[in-house]
Amino acid sequence: MSIVEFANVTKRFGSLVVLDQIDLNIESGEVVVVIGPSGSGKSTLLRCINVLEEIDGGDLVVDGISVRSGSKNVRLIRQEAGMVFQQFNLFPQMTALDNVAFGPQHVRGLSRTEARDAARDLLAKVGLAERTHHYPSELSGGQQQRVAIARALAVKPKLVLFDEPTSALDPELRHEVLRVMQVLAEEGMTMIVVTHEMSFARRVGSRLIFMEDGKIAMDGTPAELLDRAENPRLREFLQHVQ
């Protein structure tokens, strides 16, 4: 069974069709990189999976649960589908440690001590063992995003959604975030990554999806799509991002 199954999914913002009858299956262990021009529906595709956007047509099943089966089930989906945002969205009133410990404590019911111990390990894993007691405002963008990745992982999700995780970062800070993501991919985490980082797509992605006008225009391995790039729109897009 696929972990994410889009069946004829449509999403509209007013009269604008953002996702146009999408069919897509994603298997456990895949690292799917989603690319495409802005407005093509990449972020919306991601946000429908953890129900930050509600779909208007078709069905979308995540980890065996339909996104349309009520708010309690939606919370279960969200616990299994962590998300990393472009703008990090760390909780500003909490230290790095508390940001990471928060989810396990309130969602998984761990005790405060257990949650904090686990959070410390995760922060060490993303290279921030020395920053546990810093507030987000005291961290660089790259550090904040790594805390955000640790926060998403802390709830022990089955897949992680990355919504342009490096787009808000200075070029020299991107690699530290991408490196953490690569390690995660190598450990076998299921990941869906919306990004413009083509070298990451090629190096880490197991599958590449090119979206255009709310549709999946191309779907294949990174090598297939990037080296041959037969689709003229994909070729044009690649020229712009490289």
Partner: protein, 218 residues
């Protein structure tokens, strides 16, 4: 004219009693006002159309009428309408509660909706129910933004208690008026009353500033 210090000294005990009552009405009324205001503000910010509509009606009704009319209604009209007897002190506290609640509701709503929506999404994306997102994620950030406008409203409400002179509550202004009626020392009495109010509002400002300083302002 010569400023008669003895008139001020003679007035002090009564003014102290009045100030105590003013503080009591203000504190009791504002405790109620903060509770009602928080509920109504969250109803406005996050409620469905009906819940939102109820809160909206309450806020517009109160903001659209003077507080003197409100307290007159509570004290004089309510007993006729619903056969409820209310003593002046209770009427005063209820008036502050209901009145401040409406303004605080808008302050609360403004503070909550000003919090970046990414924080709400980050909370929800972890799998939290909405109420936990409000309590643990948005609430603490909103609370810090609440303090300056809330301080404003506290000061306004404290001074509004002077209007309860109309229902005969023996608060600070009423005490001043009674002394004045007896000795006709207008300058001395009203100067003393004004200074009492300044001390009360000044203390309030100081407390708010300490709270603000002790929190990380975001």
């Amino acid at each position: 004219m010569d400023f008669q210090w003895s008139a001020v000294v003679d007035a002090l005990p009564a003014l102290f009693r009045g100030a105590q009552l003013t503080v009591f009405i203000t504190v009791a009324g504002l405790v109620g006002g903060v509770i009602i205001g928080t509920v109504a503000g969250l109803m406005r910010a996050y409620g469905n159309a009906i819940v939102n509509g109820i809160a909206y009606f309450y806020i517009e009704l109160i903001r659209g009428t003077p507080i003197v009319v409100q307290v007159m209604f509570i004290y004089f009209a309510l007993p006729t309408l619903a056969d409820i007897r209310i003593d002046p002190l209770s009427a005063a506290i209820i008036a502050i509660t209901v009145n401040a609640g409406a303004y605080i509701a808008e302050i609360v709503r403004g503070a909550f909706i000003s919090v970046h929506k990414g924080l709400k999404e980050a909370g929800l994306a972890l799998g939290l129910p909405m109420w936990k997102v409000l309590v643990y994620v948005i609430g603490p950030v909103a609370f810090r933004r609440l303090i300056p406008p809330l301080g404003n409203q506290f000061i306004v409400s404290l001074k509004d208690t002077s209007l309860f002179i109309v229902i005969g509550v023996g608060e600070l202004t009423r005490q001043g008026q009674e002394i004045m009626a007896a000795n006709f020392r207008a300058v001395e009495v009203w100067s003393a009353v004004a200074i009492f109010y300044l001390i009360l509002t000044g203390t309030l400002t100081l407390i708010l500033r300490i709270i603000e300083k002790r929190m990380r302002i975001l």
